[in-house]
Symmetry: D2
Subunit: 144 residues, 4 copies
């Protein structure tokens, strides 16, 4: 599902909102795809994103999962509404080793009060294989 021309300013609105998200900018995510109920992003890793063993820090992972899920939910609410995270669970599947973290967030059940979302985070290893680094599930609340 892609935005119709009439919805193009909606994509702009989403981008604008993301632009005001200082911590996402501070960490350095790039949002690469915005569709209704779906967001993709990636992060080019720098030393400040790592923990003491040289892997991607779990906080970076959680932040990225929260951001792609929250904005995926945000694409589905009415103008004037927003979403806040009620609850986020992240499962850390494999250590994050490499140069870019890819993430996609999507709504699995949209409602008037709550949106249930999931996010997948992965990296591409030196053999060009996708390595899943995390999966999240979250409950997002619609707010005025």
């Amino acid at each position: 599902m892609k935005f119709t021309p009439a919805e193009v300013d909606f994509e702009l609105m989403v981008r604008e909102k993301i632009g005001g998200n200082h911590f996402s900018q501070f960490v350095g995510f790039d949002i690469t795809d915005i569709r209704p109920g779906y967001i993709e992003a990636h992060l080019v890793l720098k030393p400040e994103h790592l923990q003491q063993m040289g892997y991607v820090h779990g906080g970076v992972t959680a932040t990225m999962a929260d951001v792609v899920s929250g904005f995926a939910a945000f694409t589905l609410v009415k103008r004037g509404q927003g979403v806040v995270t009620a609850d986020l669970r992240v499962s850390y599947l494999n250590p994050g080793i490499g140069s870019i973290v890819y993430a996609k967030g999507y709504v699995i059940k949209a409602g008037t009060k709550l949106h249930f979302c999931e996010a997948e985070l992965w990296m591409i290893n030196e053999n060009k294989q996708r390595i899943d680094i995390a999966k999240s599930s979250s409950t997002m609340v619609v707010v005025p």
Copy 2:
């Protein structure tokens, strides 16, 4: 429970490990208390820690919860062992508004393979009241 003199170098070891945690340093946490199975930290908020509504970003909250929990677990493992997060759940109780985020992480069940941890995050409002902003539970795996 406080470290005995003989354990003072353990506290140093914990601090050293935290020092190698680039993302924690990048975000700017200060670890303020280290005891067996227990860690306290705080974060003086700057604009880069906020989301678009001016509240503490959920990623900052999740990162802080992960760090205080993971290091609380780390204080209990044997020399040469470490811990990694298997899963982390964060419940966002109230919007984070104010100048300092306080966090404590503690082990609720220590084991040889897994440590179950919790973390509490709060702020002090203008009326000097504690406002809980998040509670987390996590499963940490002991690794060699």
Copy 3:
């Protein structure tokens, strides 16, 4: 906090509602304390509550955690409102071995839309010590 005399019929209403909860009755819980935002229950174990290793089945644990948390939230909503579980997380701390499972559920943050709850489940071992078997956190939604 105990119900005042004027609130006695509220306790009755809670008990009545619990009485209509067929699965709780089927499993066999006894609600032993009802206070605003707080519920206690216990379950006298029978063979049907166990899994193949002879421990309390994780589904019994999860059900008990859901019930004491949901009813704890229910004590705080207005007349005519109810609560449903949006999400439930259970951490299984120790195997459940013994004859009675004790549980308490409580609200850690009450709101107009959501209640955040926790539950603790424990057993008493042969040395009269409390053994924690599970801890849960949950998000409950207020419904009309």
Copy 4:
């Protein structure tokens, strides 16, 4: 992926283990498919499976999610090993209304110490449409 003839006794072993799971039998699940890392089950609803509003009880849902996930993980461990649930999260997507609950559990990351699993639960409504009632994620620990 289907078991090869040589693995048929493995399916028997899984079924035998499930047979010893008293609470699953008490609740009344039928395991309908067993493949490596994957389990399907269903439950024909009776009045005792419902809560006070007439929907499937959240404890039934959580139990079914735990069982299909745990056995999915169990299909992947070595002979002599077992799995126990460390942590289970269930998101309740839609109220469960109808006559049969369907469930599938699968391993999303297998490891030597931990298996990360998910489960999906759904029902078929009167218009023959699938209604998702729950999604779970869980962390299972391999035990000797």
